[in-house]
Symmetry: C2
Subunit: 367 residues, 2 copies
């Protein structure tokens, strides 16, 4: 018998994986996917300046534990001071730190049914109790989230704007309005991973130090650096300082620090990718329409397509696409799981998706 | 007032940094160091094949959450199966996971006075109580560690072999002997970060599935990939599987996965670096001798030099070296803090160290 004794909290947890990676599926099917459209990565890639900075990084040196240069650049970018910025190992890493900082066994947390599973994984991982509210017309429902937070005395409430997996968004000023109902004992965790893909006015128009929320951003989406594992939070200095109690100070890899800094500076590349995303979104919508399906309005780098029936049909369509070399995912909870979720791709990938959707749909309806 | 409520455990923690990075010191002094010899990084760099693999990585794609290819290669390397291997975000990341898995408030953990501070940071961070035993003749003292573990009913005991910051090592078979005194309720965390720098026979000659311990290895030292943040653990499958309860599944960056795999395969580069390390170690010893100082025997990629008096003198020597552009560190606890710790460097860096040590020592003795 192995000589380890887990904590009571960890002993109760399952060994689990929030998401199965496409590589796992590729190994199972014995060949790579033709189109990798399931993880909302940016197939358009990172800024060439970012790639050059990463290639030039001295990998033999530990990264700067202060993330000084990037933190200062981000502070400038957001018109604030570095003590409002925490840089971490992607939003996943920052979510883990936040859960650890705030969630002890029995603490309550609120999110939406079917929202980001990795957040739920971290909350459950520290013994927290999750309360979930349903989506409203395929949008996250701030009023219901904050009402539930008041009801259960939540320490944290999670809201993604734009939302994943539905791609829908609220206007920033509407979120600000709804914040009047946020209970004073609850911190809003506002996940803005996709905000650079969204229409003007989606980011909350609030000062970086607003004490009611922390905003999370990432270089994994529009900046094309998912593999580099780097993201950041914007919040009040006392909350930002608290990360230093728990974070892995040398956790951000050196190449990512250099790459993110260069990516942030390359606004021309950002605009280029944003245009590519708009174009690919329109293409996905068209492909859906061509197959008699409707799409949800998207403020992200993916489009959610309504398969028009239940989760069984959507799952069959997904399986049919995967079998035809198209990696996609679908929402986890009803009734959103009547949909499939398709990331923006290159023209070639969109062609492959277009060719596969009709047959996948036909087979699914026969099934 | 910011609307966050920390857990009772985190509320008691200080905002802290286990190590101040050299970049922080460089910003304070307004210029870069001439020789970066303080963090036991490998100035000889990573395998060119590893660097090429990292440059070719698709940074826009998330890494494989299973770390499949690297895990399989490591299993082959150690003559075992992949379920004995956990890949993580450097040893620091794996230490954090282990502390989280096993340490709840009030749990006891044993380490040596002056051993790796980041381990202590993680244990304290989960509310654990640390018990420390002194070094014995500048070596970690397994017998004392295991006796203390029995006395305090420790869940975990930490032992680095070779040791950091002293550079000394025990023979693997001596560790195996001493394991007879390891209490059955205690897991040994054997940190072998430097084992590839050590003489044959330093690694413990135990099967990978031995239930009494987990061994931690890294690509940060001899493999020259400190900035990439990747390491691994070797242990019994039930313990290895438990990491899936808490780890950040997508936490290892994609370039690091590719780089570590290539580094592991490039045994010629490993031999090259090992030779460089032996040569640089001899040079550091010679420089110390030239200045009337003695060195400790080193099984690592650094040499610990005895300044011959107390911590005040060692600190003055360190400050004098830093002022002369040489970044080094020193042990944290008495009586080991009579020493300074110098990482292996290139010939140019060793020349810079040689030129600076004499004046630094003279000033320190005057001071």
């Amino acid at each position: 018998m192995t000589q380890f004794r887990l904590t009571p909290t960890v002993a109760k947890l399952p060994s689990t994986v929030p998401f199965v990676g496409p590589e796992t599926q590729e190994r199972a099917r014995g060949k790579p996917f033709d189109a990798r459209l399931g993880a909302n990565e940016s197939v358009f890639g990172a800024s060439p300046r970012a790639l050059a900075a990463m290639a030039a990084a001295d990998h033999w040196q530990y990264g700067d534990p202060e993330n000084h240069d990037l933190k200062h650049a981000l502070a400038d970018h957001h018109g604030t001071t570095p003590d409002h910025i925490i840089v971490g190992e992607g939003i996943d890493g920052l979510l883990g730190y936040l859960a650890r900082m705030m969630v002890a066994p029995g603490d309550t947390v609120v999110t939406s049914e079917g929202a980001y599973p990795t957040f739920n994984y971290h909350v459950a991982g520290f013994g927290g109790t999750l309360h979930k509210v349903p989506y409203l017309d395929d949008h996250e429902d701030p009023a219901a989230l904050f009402a539930k937070a008041a009801e259960v005395n939540a320490k944290l409430v999670y809201l993604a704007n734009p939302d994943n997996p539905m791609g829908t968004a609220h206007r920033g000023e509407d979120i600000v309005q709804s914040l009047q109902a946020l209970p004073p004992q609850t911190l809003l965790l506002l996940d803005e991973a996709y905000v650079e893909c969204a229409p003007e006015g989606t980011a909350v128009p609030l000062p970086p130090g607003d004490p009611r929320l922390i905003r999370l951003r990432t270089f994994s989406k529009v900046y094309g650096l998912a593999g580099a594992r780097i993201g950041y939070g914007i919040g009040a200095p006392d909350l930002i300082a608290a990360f230093d109690r728990v974070r892995n100070h040398f956790g951000v890899n050196r190449a990512a620090q250099a790459g993110a800094l260069a990516a942030l500076e390359d606004t021309a590349w950002l605009a280029h990718v944003q245009a590519q995303i708009r174009s690919a979104r329109a293409r996905i919508v068209q492909i859906a329409t061509d197959n008699g399906l409707t799409s949800l309005p998207s403020a992200t780098n993916f489009v959610t397509i309504d398969c028009g029936a239940d989760d069984a049909l959507a799952k069959a369509v997904l399986d049919g696409l995967v079998a035809r070399g198209i990696f996609i995912r679908m929402p986890f909870a009803a009734p959103q799981n009547r949909c499939i979720r398709v990331s923006c791709g290159t023209d070639l990938m969109m062609d492959a998706f277009a060719a596969a959707l009709g047959p996948a749909l036909r087979d699914a309806k026969k099934g």
